[in-house]
Amino acid sequence: MRLKKGTRCTICKSKKLNNKAVVFLPHHRLALCKEHFISWFENRVEKTIKEFKMFSKNDTVLVAVSGGKDSLSLWNALVKLGYNADGLYIDLGIGEYSKDSKILSLDFSKKIGRKLHIVDLKIEIETIPVIKESVNKPACSACGSVKRYYMNKMAKELGYSVIATGHNLDDEVAVLFGNTLGWDIDYLKRQYPVLEEEEGFIKKVKPLCKITEKESALYAVFNNIEYIEYECPFSEGASSIRYKEIWSKLEEQSPGSKLRFYTGFLKKMYPLLNKENSKKDDLKKCIICGEPSFHEICSVCKLKQKIQKVKV
């Protein structure tokens, strides 16, 4: 299914206007002009925030900004919707990729007039390429751990009440698919667009969880948001990209499959998985940094220790 040149915008048509559609959303049966796509996108984000009780206008939101289309589109939409949202950029030290994405994030924060906090991983621990070489861990795994750690730590130190990430529907479907393939119950139990605040963890939310990756890119382009267009060099061959390609084929043949898979999980499977109060692992405080951890020493402090050993 595709958009034919000359198709009128569904909303304009209902208002007896003649504007042509430039976007077709088969899973919503909508053909939209640029203006109505932008307002549709922002309404959908607002509805998602309210549906999952993510935050209110009284909250201070810290957006995890990578310089990519999703985080910048999310930040733009939240500010336009009137939320009190600043950004946090973690400089991972991945060569040109980090340099370019940092400049784009800084430029964007100036454009929208909001604060961008920056954490330099080289100062805190080491760059991701050095970490990858020093410890026997894939780059993406170490990267995910340090990003989660510093997002939470910085949000607390800077006094924000919620952390918002730009995970979109395709990201959530790819993770859900991967976790379902392996029946990873512990991960499935936690796959929800809101992770409530608990023992040292700030509340974390995903307001783009019902927005597809293409919708997020379209919103960025329509709003002249300059974002990093090339991939992180470490993401090559990532299973999430493979899963996304598989799901794209399904979606082409049966529009709405991704949304059905994800929202069906949230409505039917997630409550079942969390029906019984299973025993939770006790959260402790890391004896070195004081951050929440399931072990005496948290994964980031362990990482720091390993790097120190390698340096010596």
């Binding site: 595709r2 430039v22 289309k69 990201d171 267009e229 090339y230 991939e231 992180c232 993401s235 794209s248």
Partner: protein, 67 residues
């Protein structure tokens, strides 16, 4: 028709053996689907059946990323 296309931050040359080229032909030549990719012609997002000429400034956006 030989077109210069900006894709993933780089300029690529795309050769399409057709006289009348449409946006969907460019996506196909790059091995992309309109389910996750789209064409921007002279700064405007265009439908898949939009006709493209050699003079147009073309950018292709592939929304799939590693996440």
């Amino acid at each position: 028709m030989v077109l210069k296309v900006k894709y993933r931050g780089k300029i690529q040359t795309v050769n399409i053996e057709k006289e009348k080229v449409k946006a969907e032909d460019i996506l196909k030549a790059l091995g992309l689907s309109s389910e996750y990719a789209f064409v921007v012609k002279n700064g405007e997002v265009v439908p898949e059946d939009e006709v493209i000429s050699e003079e147009d400034e073309i950018k292709v956006v592939n929304a799939i990323s590693g996440g």
